[in-house]
């Protein structure tokens, strides 16, 4: 039933057979996956499960950015790091784990802080960005990178018992299957033009998180990335929709977001923002949220 490909080597057809069997993927989809380049920003609770399923699926190139080192308190949810990796660079530790899972793909760890002076250049080497970060300034920066570089942004977030997931900056133009040729999905700024007040923002180190929460969201980020790469159209993707997950009672909700804002400061036809900004100033928040010493110790 499945046709043999001229481009896919026999080892790849065998190794990835369980997903090639799916009509949604097939040989053509596997070729696309093996030709795809994905940048995962953050090798933490979201980035670890996202990257492991992308590596498993045979995504050709995966870049992993994280400036932080592995801490014992990370391990309950950051599944690419083991006890022996404590104090090792998270990007390096993640890349090593991924290499042991799939030696056939290219892995590039970036043991640096993504910032306005390097973000556009680094991400220009990739087709898709996964936002697996943990702070507001970086989320605004990645959105602007996604719009300026015309790359979709698969944005996940998790805190306590809840998670959220959507795709920003989707462009039908880059997908030959998508009939709505001119359709562009909303960007982060279309939906959230103004950053939240700093005192309203929680964090995993201050508020806690159950490990499986980012586990589910990160895994779903990988799924949406795979679907995007193989050419699923925007009505099947979380474009213009936000998935809300509450682990407390296992409720999931797909809610409809507003469309792209024709006046959006960055993704409109005549944008006010044309280069990256100083996001810590814009958001009145630090991006490097260093682990707090906990009162309970």
């Amino acid at each position: 039933v499945v046709k043999i490909s001229e481009k896919l080597p026999k080892w790849a057809i065998e190794r990835y057979s369980r997903q090639i069997l799916l009509p949604e993927i097939g040989v053509k989809g596997q070729e696309k996956l093996m030709g795809a380049k994905v940048l995962v920003v953050g090798a933490g609770g979201l980035g670890c499960p996202a990257a492991v399923y992308l590596a498993g699926a045979g995504v050709g190139e995966i870049g992993i950015v994280d400036y932080d080192q592995v801490d014992l308190t990370n391990i309950h949810r950051q599944i690419l790091h083991s006890e022996a990796d404590q104090n090792v660079s998270k990007a390096q530790s993640a890349a090593d784990s991924l290499r042991s899972i799939n030696s056939k793909i290219k892995l590039t760890p970036y043991n640096i802080e993504l910032n306005p002076s390097n973000a556009l250049e680094i991400s220009a080497n990739y087709d898709v960005i996964l936002d697996c970060t943990d702070n507001v300034p970086t989320r605004y920066m990645l959105n602007d990178v996604s719009v300026l570089n015309k790359m979709p942004l698969i944005s996940g977030s998790a805190l306590k018992m809840e998670g959220q997931l959507t795709i920003y900056g989707y462009r039908a133009k880059t997908n030959q299957n998508d009939k709505g040729y001119k359709y562009i999905g909303p960007c982060y700024r279309c939906v959230f033009p103004t950053p939240p007040p700093p005192e309203a923002v929680g964090s995993c180190s201050a508020d806690g998180v159950a490990g499986p929460i980012p586990g589910v969201i990160g895994t779903l980020q990988a799924l949406e990335t795979i679907k995007l790469i193989v050419g699923q159209t925007h009505d099947n993707l979380l474009v213009g929709r936000l998935l809300l997950f509450d682990g407390e009672d296992m409720s999931f909700r797909n809610v409809k977001l507003r469309p792209r804002n024709p006046e959006c400061e960055i993704c409109s036809e005549s944008p006010k923002i044309t280069k990256l900004l100083n996001y810590e100033v814009v958001c009145r928040m630090q991006s490097k949220e260093k682990d707090l010493d906990l009162d309970i110790l």
């Binding site: 977030s157 805190l159 306590k160 033009p193 980012p214 809300l244 509450d246 797909n254």
Partner: protein
Amino acid sequence: TMEPLKVHIQFGGGAELLFDKIKRREVELPALKKYYPDCKHEKWLIKDLLVWIKDNLLKERPELFLQGDSVRPGILVLINDADWELYGELDYELQQNDTIMFISTLHGG
């Protein structure tokens, strides 16, 4: 009609912390004129609901929920599972049995 308006109010993403940690409530709103005698319009709009929530449900730190006459940045308002921007935001007229959600966006990973 004088029938009370029943709406479902839901909080999530941490917004529930400002409301006794209760995520789901069913509230019955009286006739608008009864509640706000000086009000210029007849029917409950979301902007009236925000004031009602502030007066009746909001326990602490109102600035973490409201800013000016609207919700603060970073809280998504959903009317029956759709972004309130699709329905005129503050001026949307509440309907019987509507579900209005206030979801604080998450940034952790």
